[in-house]
């Protein structure tokens, strides 16, 4: 419980640090300083009035969709860097929209368990979203060779929550421009919010292109989880605690693991460890399980 609270404190601090331009919430404008040259690791709309950095998903679409470039070395390099160091630790600790979903899931309601087969099929959807983020602005362009940020425009609920709603509240010109697209995005946001109450992190599991990208790097990231086979009793407590449905003892660094640490907290035998360089430690002694005393 204490560990979970610590994680929520870090999540709250990360959300505040990434959205610390408070003036924007009152004036209905956005931050225009140098911080916007750099992408933040999580999904955080750069049109949020408080945003101090750029959203990697918005940025990659903006660069690829522009008329002058077909690939974004800079943004791809940044998300590769975040991913290869942290993997989906970004989702568990640093992503503001992930934090919102965590909070929504705290409502005391019956929780929904999606049928395993359907759940597994739906999880592939986030890779379709990732492909759409990278390829749609490249392929579906207008007469000037400009591609729209399709994911942001038609789907991203983070943009509606963090950017749309605060700007509409504080900026009368934007409020006057509200049309059918905004109502569609509001519907998507409402659906994600409602689903988050009953299902743990539905957006992260089924829709987030950034989570899909970081998930692909989970297995090779510098930050790793590890199960000590000498201590594991196969009691199944870790798997029951995992809300992302990871098969902890078989594949602890799964694509789906957001590194929230619930499995480690649930293990009474101290069999699960996590740190930067776990892979280095175990490669130093191949085949020998490290039994902790």
């Amino acid at each position: 419980m204490m560990q979970r609270k610590k994680r929520h404190i870090i999540q709250a601090a990360a959300a505040v640090l990434q959205n610390g331009y408070l003036e924007g919430f009152f004036t209905g404008g956005i931050y225009k300083g140098n911080g916007k040259h750099i992408c933040v690791p999580g999904l955080n709309c750069y049109s949020c009035p408080g945003a101090l950095g750029s959203c990697p998903i918005g940025s990659i679409q903006a660069v690829i969709g522009g008329s002058s470039r077909d690939f974004s070395y800079y943004v791809m390099g940044l998300i590769l860097l975040f991913g290869v160091i942290l993997g989906r630790l970004v989702c568990g600790f640093l992503c503001p929209f992930g934090f919102v979903q965590d909070l929504l899931h705290k409502f005391h309601t019956p929780k929904l368990k999606i049928q395993t087969k359907l759940d597994r099929t739906l999880r592939w959807n986030k890779f379709l979203m990732l492909a759409a983020v990278i390829f749609l602005p490249m392929i579906a362009t207008d007469a000037f060779g400009i591609g729209a940020p399709y994911f942001c425009k038609y789907f991203c609920p983070a943009g509606t929550l963090e950017g749309g709603l605060p700007l509409i509240a504080a900026n009368s010109a934007i409020r006057a421009a509200v049309g059918p697209l905004f109502y569609w995005k509001l519907f998507v946001l409402a659906a994600v919010i409602a689903a988050s109450i009953f299902i743990y992190r539905p957006f992260c599991k089924y829709f987030c292109p950034l989570g899909a990208f970081y998930g692909l790097l989970n297995r090779i990231s510098v930050f790793q989880y590890r199960v000590d086979p000498g201590r594991c009793t196969h009691c199944g407590a870790c798997e029951r605690a995992c809300k992302m449905g990871v098969d902890v003892t078989k594949n602890i660094n799964s694509i789906e693991c957001i590194r929230c640490g619930e499995c480690r907290n649930a293990c009474k035998f101290g069999a699960i460890s996590a740190s930067f360089g776990e892979a280095l430690k175990s490669s130093a002694k191949p085949g020998k399980p490290e039994v902790k005393h």
């Binding site: 956005i30 049109s47 950095g53 800079y74 590769l80 290869v84 940020p149 425009k153 090779i220």
Partner: protein, 46 residues
């Protein structure tokens, strides 16, 4: 596991190279110019 370490080192090197190339060709300015204007698509205005 050792293969994973080598693989992560390679990805780290690629990431660093991509960032360097991106900075060299001026991509941060593209990101900055987009991110300092309200993105009408992102907020659902169109």
């Amino acid at each position: 596991m050792k293969r994973n370490v080598l693989f992560s080192a390679a990805v780290l090197a690629i990431a660093a190279a991509f960032i360097a190339i991106g900075i060299w060709i001026g991509e941060p300015s593209d990101v900055f110019s987009k991110a300092t204007m309200i993105c009408m698509e992102c907020i659902g205005i169109g």
